[in-house]
């Protein structure tokens, strides 16, 4: 043996030699008591390389077992077992550790079992942090991206509970990693699956990923809907881990719920509308003196309902429609030639429910006027107006007036074929909870409609918000 090699052997026994090697030759040593495997000496360099203060760490194997990536820990364990059985099998692998700042490092971990009579008693190991290869750097970055993802990314085993709980999971569920580790993630988040666990297990057993929406609760009690993807990965031998990604889809889910609700509401309105049309057609036939022109009259009334409906679904009118808009639209077709219609009245919101009956009333009045009244002959005139009737500060009712001025004298009496038109006026007034008063003067018809608020809470003017 070279004399210096001999001297080196002696020098290595000195404390300062070990300190030098620990600081400069690699990124830390470990020395493990295989007879009492919870005891393991980790050098100061070991902890510094991972960003920890060596003073705060204990010489227990559990100290690093919490930091190594579980899947890598499994690989190392398998290699350890084989190396113990067979000294020629090297204990040498790359493993990933979490650092104190939440980052990830890749470490080449090598070790040598110290045997007595062939039986492993101790094990000496070293860490070398791998900085240089591109592949490892990408792997490290990927690990960090997973850690920082806004999705919750978890790894757990059916027996040991959660092993990884990334920052996304902490943020999503408001539960820190320290409290999540070791727990069942689905119990922790009070998961409610819409399929049975057996279905999920069968999917995973078949080697497929299970995906579905799951209702969960944050620590604060707030309910979340997650789109969850679970897959089972084999780590080593017969040991498997479950990897799960939860994405918060609560907003999307709520939007879908709202859409479902709107669709239901729409179905309801359409069914109701069919029922109204049935009533309209049947009542028209029942009250008609003869069938001449009946189809046209029915179609005209359906047209009025259709226009009222179109007004009520206009996105600009989410709660109410202005009286002026309603009347202008309904009366345009009747103001032709020298016949004039004047509409006077302030802003007056009409609740959506009242649009149909009011439209029908206007249409009946205008139709009658064009057949028997002021809108029949050139020079005829109708003025339409409304005003609030107030009692003290309270707004109690709206008084609506329809006043005809005939160009030629007319009999001061109701027309002979009032039939259905009159019935429709009466019914629509009833629906509004209103009183209807018609007076035939020699100038023409004057019709007054008083719509009270007290009788109908929804007619109160609503503010758009």
């Amino acid at each position: 043996m070279h004399y210096l090699e001999k001297e080196l052997g002696a020098f290595l026994g000195q404390p300062e030699a070990f300190a030098f090697l620990d600081a400069s030759a690699c990124d830390g040593f470990w020395f493990w008591d295989l007879e009492n495997p919870e005891h393991e000496y980790m050098s100061a360099g070991f902890w510094r390389a991972l960003g920890f203060d060596p003073v705060e760490r204990e010489h227990l194997a559990a100290e690093w077992q919490n930091l190594i990536f579980p899947e890598d820990g499994e690989t190392a364990l398998q290699n350890f077992k084989r190396h113990c059985e067979d000294p020629s099998f090297p204990y040498d692998q790359l493993v990933r550790y979490k650092t104190s700042d939440g980052g990830t490092v890749t470490v080449r971990c090598r070790g040598l079992a110290v045997r007595e009579n062939g039986v492993p008693k101790r094990m000496l190991g070293s860490h070398t942090i791998i900085h240089d290869t591109r592949e490892i750097e990408i792997d490290r970055q990927l690990s960090q991206m997973l850690e920082l993802s806004s999705d919750a990314i978890l790894a757990y085993s059916e027996t040991d509970g959660l092993l990884r709980w990334n920052q996304g999971a902490e943020a999503m569920y408001g539960i820190p990693e320290s409290e999540a580790i070791g727990r069942d993630p689905n119990a922790l988040t009070q998961a409610e699956f819409d399929v049975s666990r057996d279905v999920i297990r069968a999917t995973l057993d078949a080697g497929k990923a299970w995906t579905g929406d799951v209702k969960r609760k944050m620590r604060s009690g707030r309910v979340l809907i997650t789109s969850t993807n679970i897959q089972r990965v084999e780590v080593s031998g017969d040991r498997t881990l479950l990897l799960q990604i939860d994405r918060d889809v609560t907003e999307r889910f709520e939007a879908q719920e709202k859409e479902r609700h709107l669709t239901r509401e729409l179905h309801h309105r359409i069914k109701n509308l069919f029922s109204i049309l049935q009533g309209l057609v049947r009542l028209s036939f029942r009250l008609a003196r003869n069938n001449v022109g009946l189809a046209d009259k029915i179609c005209a009334r359906i047209d009025v309902l259709a226009k009222a409906y179109a007004l009520s679904i206009d996105p600009g009118h989410d709660k109410a429609v202005d009286m002026h808009t309603l009347f202008s639209q309904a009366l345009i077709p009747f103001a032709q030639g020298d016949r004039s219609i004047k509409i006077e009245g302030g802003m007056q919101p009409i609740p959506l429910n009242d649009i149909s009956p009011l439209s029908l009333i206007i249409n009946e009045l205008a139709t009658n006027a064009s057949k028997h009244g002021a809108l029949r002959d050139k020079g005829g005139h109708v003025s339409v107006g409304w005003q609030e009737i107030t009692d003290g500060d309270e707004q109690n009712a709206i008084k609506f007036t329809w006043s005809e001025k005939n160009p030629n004298p007319m009999p001061a009496k109701p027309p002979d074929d009032a039939g259905f038109g009159t019935k429709l006026l009466t019914l629509s007034a009833m629906q509004l909870g209103a009183t209807l008063n018609q007076e035939w003067t020699k100038n023409g018809l004057v019709c007054k409609l008083v719509i009270p608020f007290a009788n109908n809470a929804t007619i109160r003017p609503t503010t758009k918000d």
Binding site: H268, N272, Q278, G279, L283, N353, P357, L427, Q431
Partner: protein, 129 residues
Amino acid sequence: MNERDVQKPLSGKKVLIVEDEMLIAFDLMDTFGDAGAAAIGPAGTLEQAFEAFEKDETDVAILDIDLRGVSVFPFAEALVERNVPIVFHSGHGMLENLETRFPGAAICPKPASKEELIDKVSGLLTAKN
């Protein structure tokens, strides 16, 4: 059943109509009137329904579920208490809940034919007697 019964299957029965759409309400009044019944109403609000029910004896009631945003259920419960059969006549999609809440009631989704309504009412009255 003689011919008169076929044409007037609800002869002498008092049918209360609760419906806020007057075109539908009066069509129902006529439909039941044609079937021989004395149609009561129509009540367009919950208050009017209770009023009509206090004033007149009622053999059976036809109820729209949504009366301008107000649920008819409080009135339906009063009817159940007094053992008056109910036909729900509604376009609502959530009719399945009705069967658990009002087990004895008949359901006639809108739009319903005359025959359907009269059959349901006759059925309930027969079951009651």
